[in-house]
Point group: C2
Chain length 640, copies 2
């Protein structure tokens, strides 16, 4: 097992990520602060901070917002923690401390802490784990507590959450009289493993293990809970058809689950927690189960952008190879959860199948959820869009042609903020004698290897360029780095001389006695590539996607006019720098043929194979789509 | 204006249509008789006949079935009338007479006749024209009355319906104190024109004209009616967002409507009534409005099968060029209504744009609604189907991979029965000096031309063969016949000698003094054609459909294995006779390339253009799809 180098040891200097980090720091976090304090004009109030004030007895009033509104405060605090780690800010820290004080005031004598139940339904605590996100909120706040502790060394929130988790541990578990339950929305599992690592308290790991192992066993806990509630659900109406066990991955014991099903964010968080638990406990059967689910998702249910959860219905996984590009959901949060999952798997097995997907996710299907102004966000990340259809056809009623401002249920923007600000956590890892580089993101890092610390500098202009440089510090260790699956070739130099490193599971290993200032240069040629989908993915038949390095491109009507389906790529490409949307971005000009517009009003006619004319089309990085006014159509998959 | 030769003057001997007529006669009509009498085991009772017995005071009980259940009896009677016309059956006629007696007994003193309101809500008559199908049921029963009168000369039902329509006429109209209303589901309009023609009573035409002209004017009648009902709808719940005026084509006055919108069967019936009204009144502006709507549908909203109504949402038209092949609705009844509409337009303007579509409809998107066993029926007629998706993805939850048995809301099967049994009404028409042949359906006909009657015999094996023969009887008249739009060439002989007839609007005219036994031979070469859609129809880009003559073909997994999207047609075809599904059918073998199955488990890889292998695929007529067990996939559009 290897350990990821913590955020505080990693400094990111990549121009690409600086843009996003600045957005997260300067726009999302401050904006969310206003939001949770009900200070955004012309927007329904969040109530999130106010709920804590009411629970603390500082204000009169009723609970407001979603049942999981507390998690918005948690996600804000977690993002703040990462932000303070990478860029300290005394005033922001003071604000966060005050919020933590408030949380402390809201906590009950026995440790209980959930403003919905405290204000609204104090007699209903722990009676509806299925619907009410009680454990979900506890999980998010635990993540915030651990992050804030690691960022600042301050343990106030950590202690608050230990008290609350201790209470939960006294209510849920295998012992006589305890609830044999687990959350309807997994999240606390991954948080419990983090809390265990931060505190060393094994009970937290045990509690996680109980929830993971109990899930989906017979008799089904959610059925029993529902029975005890007289079949009344929280979200209006009853459960006439019973609990949708697949929706919350409670249809089978976790080790028997072989296909990812149900709500994709629930799935991603659950698998992340399970993988991390397996890593900490060495549970081989759980590890194997996560490998099977990982392979199922990435080999059968993942869009080329990294998007997961093809169904709008239940924001859920669909079925193997069912990857419609227009009606897709692919929630931003689901993709973020897959980044988490990838990292946990990578910790157990240095295999590029995990890091390649992590890279696919961070450059495509996650950041596509955010406009380049940092103020508009997508839940859904379609791979094709026809603006008129989004307005007129309910099957794509969930697809927007432009990113809306912020949401009543605002899960994706703060999730993006925490992913971006904590990106340093995902780049390097190490074990006794090896330093691993998983992502090519320029900057510096101090990486513990055995009892030493390696100081490493990474340079380059990734993802736009495949020239990557490393400077290492003295020591005897293996330096390992990923050769991306997208690379058709690569070249490595150590101290200026070509070397042929050993390759294992897609990682290059150079094991030697390094001197301070030793260099490693990796060249990954980045031609434009046409990529095709497995023929079993029927929606992509006859089409290809344009990629360069890890970046997936798309065509937009803003560059190419309407009726993108009339375009057929002919396979010649030219790259060019274009700063107009994103500084330093590389766009692509592609040779193509376009079906001629018909002069007659006919809808059908005898097929004329040659009725097309040559043209040049422009492809831009998918993540940057619909940042211009004129976005009536977009497509990732283009006819070939 | 020309007049269609009535059913009683036309005898169909086409082998193709004999199969369907036999199904209608021997299976649908008897089965529906059992159904409306609640005699189908293991099926929810229809209540349709029982409702009339209760209304007649012959039985105690409550109303059962849909609010429009009476129309099932009407449609059965109408189909019986056509069946008696083409094939008299004394016993069936006696049964129908008894049903008519029962209907007479159920009719109230003042003429009122709708069992739902009589049994269930006698104080609510004419208060909810929007939802309750009161005028719709009256329309269907009027159609039955006219058909039965024309079939048998018996006017009992005709008189019943005149009395009821007289009552409606006393309630609805422009005069002070009358309701300024029109039906939520159009249908009565077309029936009123038929009733006018059968009786000569101009009031019926006037009533139709009022309903047509009032529709969609301000203030909106449905809004007023809803207001008067305190915003309570019939179908559960209120109308919080008001009336969906587009759904029922009441969003604008009819002459200002330029795009077909809303529920497609409502639209088809409305346009049919309007066109027939325009024909009878010579109303040029109404005729022009119908031309505009016809062109909109056929040039921008019709599937290659003739299917209309792309939306499952509201079973409605979508928007121009939005023709998804998998999530499509394309209700069988909507296609049937387009046959009616085509005929009315053709009456005013002998132009093949109407009869070509009529032909497209009868050979493809209408009869596709029926299994070849005559016992299973589709509402929806998709152009592509993936069985696993229909089970697992709600966006195609309305699509079945197999035709179900019969429906609780059983509109399509009896509608097919009446279309098929009355097909003789659509083949020929005539005016003072011309005989028109619109459809190539073998048989004999007596066609009035001026004050004479032309006896005509048509032979051939259409749609499988394009060799068509006519034998004419003596007289000076023009013989006109359609040169189908699909025909790339044609040849005509009169009495064995090649002739070059004048062509007007797609019809060939031979004007001469004919002698008894004169022959005309039309040869329409029927090569297999690849047909493409206008590039604006984005869903069909890069694909073509296989057609031969008027018949649209499809690929099924039963012949071609799964993953039909892997197939690319290369343009060579061979036809062969295959009786296995349908006697005399012509199937097609096509040369193709098929993407190779991947040996790796990858989901994406660098595009390999040549990774396909030659194969031969089998195409069968679309109308015959999923008549075999093994129908996991089907597609009309195939990559080229």
């Amino acid at each position: 097992m290897n350990n990821f180098t913590p955020l505080k040891n990693v400094k990111i200097e990549s121009p690409f990520w600086k843009t996003y980090t600045d957005i997260a720091k300067d726009k999302i976090i401050p904006y969310q602060w206003l939001a949770i304090n009900d200070k955004i004009p012309d927007t329904a109030p969040s109530h999130a901070i106010r709920n804590f004030r009411i629970a603390a007895g500082l204000e009169e009033g009723d609970f407001g917002g979603m049942v999981f509104q507390d998690s918005d405060v948690a996600k804000w605090l977690e993002a703040v923690a990462y932000r303070l780690t990478i860029d300290p800010d005394a005033e922001l820290e003071k604000t966060a401390d005050e919020v933590i004080d408030l949380i402390g005031q809201a906590q009950e004598e026995d440790g209980y802490l959930n403003t919905y139940f405290q204000i609204k339904a104090p007699d209903k605590k722990f009676t509806n784990l299925l619907d009410c996100h009680e454990l979900y909120c506890a999980g998010h706040m635990t993540e915030a507590a651990v992050a804030y502790y690691e960022a600042t060394g301050k343990d106030k929130l950590l202690k608050i959450m230990c008290r609350y988790i201790d209470l939960i541990d006294s209510k849920i578990g295998p012992e006589e009289g305890k609830i044999k339950g687990y959350p309807g929305h997994p999240e606390i599992e991954l948080a419990l493993v983090k809390l265990y690592r931060a505190t060393g308290e094994k009970r937290y790991l045990k509690l996680c293990e109980f929830m993971v192992n109990e899930r989906g066993t017979d008799p089904n806990y959610f059925d029993q809970e529902l029975e005890a509630r007289n079949h009344i659900g929280f979200w209006g109406g009853g459960y006439q058809r019973g609990v949708d066990r697949k929706y919350c991955q409670a249809h089978k014991p976790i080790r028997q689950q072989t296909e990812a099903v149900g709500h994709s964010v629930r799935a991603g968080y659950l698998y992340t927690g399970c993988a991390d638990l397996a890593a900490e406990t060495g549970d081989e059967s759980l590890k194997r189960a996560m490998e099977v689910l990982w392979d199922n998702i990435t080999e059968k249910q993942m869009y080329i952008t990294g998007g997961v959860g093809a169904h709008v219905y239940g924001e859920a996984f669909s079925f193997n190879y069912h990857l419609p590009n227009d009606t897709v959901y692919a929630e931003t949060c689901a993709q973020i959860s897959m980044v988490f999952f990838a990292q946990k798997m990578l910790r157990m097995d240095v295999n590029r199948k995990y890091s390649d997907v992590m890279e696919r996710l961070i450059y495509n299907g996650t950041i596509s959820g955010m406009a380049l102004d940092g103020r508009h966000f997508f839940y859904t990340n379609p791979l094709s869009m026809w603006e008129e259809e989004t307005r007129k056809c309910p099957r794509v009623g969930h697809i927007h042609s432009k990113r809306p401002g912020w949401f009543g249920c605002a899960c994706c923007p703060p999730n993006l903020a925490r992913m971006i600000t904590s990106l340093g956590n995902y780049i390097y890892s190490s074990d006794e004698n090896t330093v691993y580089t998983h992502l090519y993101i320029g900057g510096e890092a101090d990486i513990p290897v055995g009892d030493k610390t390696v100081h490493l500098t990474q340079t380059g202009n990734y993802p736009w360029s495949g020239e990557i440089g490393f400077t290492l510090s003295e020591g005897k260790y293996a330096f390992a780095f990923r050769i991306p699956g997208w690379a058709r070739s690569f070249a490595v130099k150590a101290n200026g001389s070509a070397v042929s490193p050993e390759i294992r599971k897609g990682y290059a290993y150079i094991n030697r006695q390094w001197k301070d200032g030793d260099t490693v240069e990796l060249t990954l040629p980045m031609p434009v590539e046409l990529v095709e989908a497995n023929p079993l993915a029927r929606e992509d038949a006859g089409k290809a996607a344009i990629m360069r390095g890890p970046v997936v491109y798309c065509l937009e009507s803003a560059d190419n006019g309407d009726v993108l389906s009339a375009i057929r790529l002919t396979g010649e490409f030219e790259t060019y720098a274009d700063d107009s949307l994103f500084e330093g971005a590389v766009n692509i000009r592609a040779s193509a043929m376009r079906r001629r517009t018909w002069t007659s009003s006919e809808l059908y006619r005898t097929y004329k194979p040659g009725d097309e004319e040559p043209c040049t089309v422009t492809a831009i990085p998918y993540a940057f789509w619909t940042n211009r006014e004129d976005s009536r159509e977009m497509t990732v998959w283009v006819r070939v």
